[in-house]
Symmetry: C2
Subunit: 205 residues, 2 copies
């Protein structure tokens, strides 16, 4: 077990370094050498754990699903949960290198096509599920197309995150999320439900 622990540590170091470099440079511009340097690992070690650059990238992308899997709904109303999820994700984007790298690789379509689709679908499905629960609770406007709304919200979060990254290195991401909800919620939820929601971030005390 002890020697497996060492192996796991280097594997994690490689994964973290790869996520950072992929986040900063993108897949094609990222070089194995830089990943090696940053991980403090040699080529042999890396290629022992990952058979190719692409396999390494896929492992980084996995980090996104892992984050979403560990996320716990905030037990409130479904719409509030969706809002909170957005903020939690925003903070992960600001702080968690693995999530950052994963998102950049997801957004950068090209070399590998399948996992990106899965990632987008994953987010859209989560949003859709929450919206369904909200509709069943009578919180939404009657005519709302759930699939369409889920798609728009997923896409909008993607784009807002991107523009925030380009313009302010994600410093104003939280504010932009609040702006999004302010603009979108009136078209989604009924006034009585809107009154119970907190659009701004609810900091866990």
């Amino acid at each position: 077990m002890a020697r497996q622990a060492r192996a796991l540590a280097t594997r994690q170091a490689v994964l973290l370094a790869a996520a950072e470099v992929f986040d900063e440079r993108g897949y094609a511009a990222a070089t194995m050498s830089e990943i090696l340097d940053r991980a403090g690992v040699t080529k042999g070690a890396l290629y022992f754990h990952f058979r190719s650059k692409e396999e390494l990238a896929l492992a980084v992308i996995e980090g996104q699903g892992a984050w979403l899997a560990t996320w716990q709904p905030s037990s409130d109303s479904p719409v509030q949960t969706l809002i909170d999820l957005g903020y939690a994700f925003a903070h992960a984007l600001q702080d968690d290198p693995l999530v950052r790298g994963s998102i950049r690789l997801t957004i950068e379509h090209g070399s590998f096509t399948q996992p990106q689709i899965a990632a987008y679908q994953g987010w859209s499905d989560v949003a859709r599920g929450l919206l369904e629960r909200a509709r069943d609770a009578g919180d939404l406007h009657p005519g709302v197309d759930l699939a369409a709304a889920a798609g728009v919200i997923t896409g909008a979060v993607t784009g807002i995150q991107l523009s925030s990254q380009v313009l302010t290195d994600r410093r104003d991401l939280i504010q932009r999320m609040a702006d999004l909800w302010t603009l979108v919620l009136p078209g989604l939820v009924q006034p009585h439900a809107l009154a119970r929601l907190s659009v701004a971030e609810r900091v866990p005390s």
Copy 2:
């Protein structure tokens, strides 16, 4: 003039081929050889017109500003103009290789940082200007933060376009734009103005 005509033709051929390759592969993964092949031009010709790969990419990015510059407002209400602009842009993304390549390079931050910021700002400014006119016309809800709304709309369009590209190669982009406006407009414009807007695409007869 005649010599300029020939030169201009090869320059355009290079620009078009570059936009296509950048669109398909991204900046780093795009190779000059592929651009040369597709343009049917030799290296010497290309490097006569563009001094480096980066300069070529910048020229492609310019295409976006050029498109926006040639665009003519549809003389309606400001909000309707904004909606129409979205659809016009969507069609350009589906059909115009230069716009496609330009957008991909804009979204792909990294190597060159300045022009992307300018591009985002350009779109945001246009949206902001139209929203200001809409507010002055009394179409918007009183408390709307114009800058925030413009930023959200710009970002949302960016993201929707991206997810549509990844999921369906932009085939459902028009539909997603309609979904966006359906969701966003109620939080933006007052009911009396909303009634006069056509959210779905207005095909010019």
